[in-house]
């Protein structure tokens, strides 16, 4: 729903993190987003394309999106459960848990630069 503002914040974040010269050689951006992040990859790719129409300087930079599954780690038995159907319950001891260890993230995981 807010894919364009996410694309803006990707570049705003990178501009804070890296020098301009380095950014000029940027080749690819890898995102890692959890299924709970409410990011829809197809829409984000579209917003990314649209961004380049008004900001051509990053036109050659590729975007890769990796979706991560939802996992919780039980506070009691430390068992890790893949959450299915949004039932936040430990597979092993059947106790509820909201200790999400994967699936909520919205990360710029890796950035590639040309030499």
């Amino acid at each position: 729903m807010h894919e364009t503002s996410i694309v803006n914040s990707i570049f705003r974040t990178l501009e804070q993190e890296f020098e301009v010269e380095k950014l000029n050689n940027m080749k690819a951006i890898h995102l890692k987003v959890g299924i709970l992040s409410n990011i829809e990859p197809r829409l984000l790719y579209n917003a990314y394309e649209a961004f380049h129409m008004t900001n051509p300087i990053y036109q050659k930079v590729k975007l890769e999106i990796e979706m991560t599954e939802l996992k919780i780690k039980c506070e009691i038995c430390e068992h890790i459960t893949n959450v299915k159907n949004y039932r936040f319950i430990c597979d092993n001891c059947k106790k509820p848990s909201k200790n999400v260890i994967q699936g909520e993230e919205m990360l710029i995981h890796k950035v590639e630069f040309d030499d």
Binding site: M1, H2, S5, I6, S9, I10, R12, T13, L14, Q16, E17, K27, L31, K32, L36, S37, N38, N85, Y86, R87, F88, I89, P96, S97, K98, V100, E104, E105, M106, L107, I108, H109, K110, V111, E112, F113, D114, D115
Partner: protein
């Protein structure tokens, strides 16, 4: 003998593993808001829901019930118009409209920008009435102490699993428009079970701003949280 170059090979790719949180800027500002609120002991509540589930009516009702006991103020986010702030001001409390101009959620920066419009020293309870939307606002920490989500009986009891992030990140679910329960196919038990499968710590109150059902329980909850915050 050819000199061996010590330069990095051309055409290779350097990688930087960054793991930068895309919401870093938002979370940074949210922390600043938290610190501001801690200074004055003001309780900050982020109220979320779909559009039309009764957030503004609940703000009016809460203001009427509590304004003689505590100092309340509201900031309310909408895409356009001043309508909600006008309605809340009619109850005699301070209300400020944040017009997002099309943005589907409030961000910490927007809250921080208007914070100096409030005399926080003299405010016990500050509500943020978020944009009506169960999707995007769930990702944005506004520095709130508690997140309260309204779930109207007219919306259908199958929503928590459809919008899991919102219910996972909420502390309280208010089943609103409870006065309509006799007329709508809505099960409070089913919605509670669904929501607590996502978030077992979620508290639930059945409420109607029109019939007053649950309003005292809600106000008591608020007063208790204010007391805790003041320490």
């Amino acid at each position: 003998m050819v000199d061996k170059s010590t330069k990095a090979a051309r055409g290779t790719v350097q990688c930087e593993n960054t793991n930068i949180n895309l919401l870093k800027a938002n979370d940074f500002v949210a922390d600043i808001i938290k610190k501001e609120m801690a200074k004055t002991g003001t309780l900050l509540i982020n109220v979320t829901s779909s559009a039309g589930s009764g957030k503004t009516t609940l703000m009016q009702k809460t203001a009427e019930k509590l304004k003689d006991k505590i100092k309340i103020a509201v900031m309310v986010g909408d895409l356009e118009t001043e309508r909600d702030a006008d309605r809340i001001r009619e109850t005699g409390i301070q209300a400020l409209q944040i017009v997002t101009g099309g943005i589907c959620h409030l961000e910490a920066q927007m809250i921080h920008q208007v914070l100096d419009q409030f005399d926080l020293e003299n405010i016990d309870l500050l509500f943020i009435e978020n944009v009506g939307n169960l999707v995007c606002p769930s990702s944005f920490d506004l520095g709130e102490d508690y997140r309260v989500t309204l779930m109207a009986t007219t919306e259908g009891d199958d929503k928590p699993k459809k919008y899991p992030k919102m219910f996972l990140t909420s502390d309280m679910m208010l089943v609103s428009k409870a006065d309509l329960l006799p007329y709508v196919p809505f099960s409070v038990e089913a919605v509670t079970k669904d929501a607590q499968e996502v978030n077992h710590e979620l508290e639930v109150i059945q409420i109607s701003s029109l019939s007053d059902e649950g309003v005292d329980e809600w106000c008591d909850w608020l007063l208790e949280k204010i007391k805790q915050k003041k320490g």
